[in-house]
Every structure is written in C-alpha cells, then in structure tokens.
C-alpha cells in the first residue's frame, strides 16, 4: 500500500512548551484519519510542520516517500483547510476569485464551476467572501483546497463555529471525497462521534501520540474512549 505520510520521531518545541513529543505514525493512500485531541494538544502545530509553515522541528516528515526538507513539490498534491481562515473582512474577492486563487493552472477554469457545484456554493459564486456565513465560507475554502485535484486533504478542526446543518453537509462531502475520489484525508477534530462515523483511522494526540490505529480498534476499546473523554472533559472544564 502506498504510503502518503510518514512521520518519524517528530518533536516540536516552542520557547516555553514542548508541543509535540516524539510522535511517529504513517498514513496510507485512501486513509481517512481523524486526529483527536483536546485544545492545546498540538494538532495545529503538527499540521504547520507537515505543511512546511514551521521548519523548526526534530525528526523527519516524509510525503510520498520524500523528506519534505529536501523537496517542496509535495505541496502541489495537498489541499489545506485552516482552522480559522483569516482575511480582511471587506477584501474585494468573490467566491469565484477565492477558489481560483487555488488553481495552479489557469487552463482548468471549468474545474472551478464543477467544484462550486459539488459543494453547493455555485449560487454564491459572485458574492464577496466576507458576506457569507461561517459554514458557507468553510465550503469555499474546501473548494479552493480541492480545485487542484489534490491527493491529500488536510483539515484543521474545520467545523469550529459552524451551524449543525452545514456540518452535516460538510461531513457528507468529506465522506464522498474519500470513498468516491480516493482522496486521503487527514482531519483534526475534538468531536468523537463525528470521527467515529467518518474516519477509518484514529490518532489520539495530546503532546504525545497515545493511540494510533484503525478506528474500530479505538472505539471498541471502552478503556481508551473513557480515558480520552476524561482528558478532554478536564480540558473543557478548565476552559470555562
């Protein structure tokens, strides 16, 4: 089976915290990996290093068998949807403009319409991005990530602050991308139910990786689920 991502002994330290501590795991082609972990677990930090946004790490990260320190070509094969896309609220760009930004080759303009249809946002294509609801914006950013036909889609807690109806639509879109188009999906979340429903692999991260494997093995192991729920519960109470 083709290995898409190989992470080996990855450690990432910020000045006052070790955010990732000796993490190793592999993602195969076609996997739908849910990375679960409470706030501050290091999910975004892990993604930043995988996306070459943060190069200060120890260990190795390989995409398609090549160390990302050696070549950045792998970035062409990746679609990334950030946790909270930041842009000027009145930025003069329409949905169409934003999706086209992701397009590597101008020649593929038909692809833009196709993706907008697929994500149910074609009717919004001439609207300004800043006018849309959170759920609609999220779909625009997914469209932008998909417009190049990526092999891998990386999503960082993509449903934070989005209404339930949009979330359901969003999940069904992800499921379809993975099963019909065989896109490998790496997705961080703290919604256990959603991960249980969608993902076929699970990684539990909280600075260290304390579980990685098939999602059935995780969800059938009550001890692990309980352990995770308690950890995130404490986190939750801590935050309120």
């Amino acid at each position: 089976m083709l290995k898409v991502v190989e992470i080996d002994h990855l450690t990432i330290e910020y000045p006052d915290v070790k955010a990732i501590d000796d993490v190793s795991f592999t993602v195969n082609q076609g996997d739908f990996l849910g990375i679960i972990g409470p706030n501050g677990a290091g999910k975004s930090t892990l993604f930043a290093s995988m996306l070459n946004l943060n190069t200060k790490y120890n260990g190795t990260i390989k995409f398609f068998g090549t160390d990302i320190r050696k070549s950045k070509n792998y970035l062409k094969e990746i679609g990334y949807v950030p946790q909270k896309p930041i842009f000027e609220k009145n930025f003069p760009a329409t949905v169409n403009d934003v999706v086209k930004m992701g397009l590597q080759k101008e020649s593929d303009e038909n692809k833009v319409d196709e993706i907008l249809q697929q994500l149910w946002i074609h009717e919004l294509s001439e609207r300004r991005i800043g006018e849309l609801s959170g759920g609609q914006q999220q779909r625009v950013f997914i469209a932008k990530a998909l417009v190049n036909n990526p092999k891998v889609l990386i999503l960082d807690e993509p449903v934070t602050g989005i209404d339930q109806q949009s979330i359901d639509l969003f999940y069904s879109i992800l499921k379809e991308l993975n099963s019909k188009q065989n896109i490998t999906i790496i997705w961080s979340s703290h919604d256990l139910d959603a991960v249980n429903k969608l993902a076929n692999h699970v990684a539990c991260l909280n600075r260290t990786l304390f579980f990685h494997g098939e999602s059935d093995d995780f969800f059938e192991n009550d001890e692990l689920v309980k352990q995770y729920s308690e950890a995130s519960m404490q986190e939750h109470m801590h935050h309120h």
Partner: protein
Amino acid sequence: MAFEIFTFSFMHRAIISGIAIAILCSVVGLFLVLRRYSLFGDAIAHSSFGGIALGLMAGIYPLWTAYGVSIISALIMTRIKDRFNISGDASIAVLLSSGIALGLVIIGLSGGFTLDIFSFLFGSILLVSVNDTILILSLTGIILIVILLLYRQLLYSTFNEEQAKVSGIPVEKINYLIVFMAGITVVTSIQLVGVLLISALFVIPNVTAIMYGKGFKQTVIISMSFSIFSVVAGILVSYIFDITPAGTIVLIAIGIFGCTIGIKSAGLLSRHN
C-alpha cells in the same frame, strides 16, 4: 474658450502622464491598502525627499537619486522589519522620518535650493518633458505587465499569506516585489502630486472602489476609473482656475469618496445584487 487648453502640447503630456500615473497608483495601491500598508507609499515618498536633496546637491538628476534612495531604503526597511519583528506602522514611521531628516540635513549643508524642492513637494505635472512622459509610460507598462503575469501570486499572498505559502507561492519574494513596485510607482508619481500627497492616490480611489462590493478585477477597474477621472479633471480644473493641480486632484478624489459614502449610507448600494 477653455477648450483651447487641449491644443497645448504640455497639456497633452500632462494628461497622458497623469492617466498613466493614475492607473499605476490605483493598482499598486490596492495591494498596499489590502495589506494594511496604506501609509507605505507615504513613507517611500518621504524617503525620496532625501534622495532628491542628494541629487540636487551632487548635481545628478534628482529623480534618479530619488529612485535609488527610496527603493533601496524601502527594501532594507522591509528586511529589518521581517528580521526583527517590527510592526508595519512603526517601520513606516522610521522610513518616513529618516528620509525627511536626510533631506533637511543635506539642504542645510548645501545652503538651500528651495525652489526646486518646492516642485518636488507639491508636484509639477504641467512641466513634464517629452522624456519624462516616455519614462512614465514605459515604467507603467512594465509594472502592469509584471502584475498581469503574477496576478494570482500577488492576489493570493495578499489575501492570506499562510495559505499562499502552503500552495507553494514564494510569499517573501512577492512581498519584496510589491515593495519594489511601490518604490518605482511613488517616485514616478512625484511629478504629478508631489511627495506630500502621494498616499492620497494610493489609498483614496481604492478605499472608494472597495465599497462597491464587487470582485477583485471589477474593484481594480472601478478604482482606476475614479483615479483617472480625478487626475484628468484635476489637471483641467486647476489650469482653468489657476490653482495647484495636486491639491485639486486629491480634493476631487475625496469628493468621489464622499459621494460614495453618501450613496452607501442612503442604502442605494445594496450588499449584493
């Protein structure tokens, strides 16, 4: 009649250069405004004051030294800002004041040449020569071609740096390119509105155009139209009434801005149509 002014060749040159500069400032200015870098044009313009004084003192054509000093100092300042994490507005303040300080000291040392300096401070569009016009048109052409070729990279890295990086766009190089183009644009435009009013041309047509709620390309076209209208009307009106062109141009641009705000608050610009 007032129409005779269209027969003067200095007026032809003024209007042709004015239109080129209007287009240039609105396109380059849009990227600066969207990067929250509106005052950067001002900073470059003030640093060019130092360059102009240097040229006058050394007996070199002052625009050349202005190009050199402002582009180099803007690039250096950008590098320092990135390396030492200085905020954008603070780096603008440093750049702005160092140019003026340099200019003042040089003027003091050489005993003053106030007349020449005056035309650089407030512009002298009616005095542009044939050579100036050719230079202005060529630089405008080159910069517009660069912007067209790198359109996606410029737009994407302005919209969201991090995502642009992940898409493999060399964001840092693009940032330096924008600073470089801003430097050329500012010094080229000094002849039209002078050092003191440059940022008006960078900013006002763009904040006005953004309010119309359109996509990127349409916003550029709206901004260019307002900019061209302000410049051409400003040149003509100021000539007829014998007032300063720079001030007139900027006041017309502000007038359009005011009207747009009026239309918007009256609810005539729907959020989307």
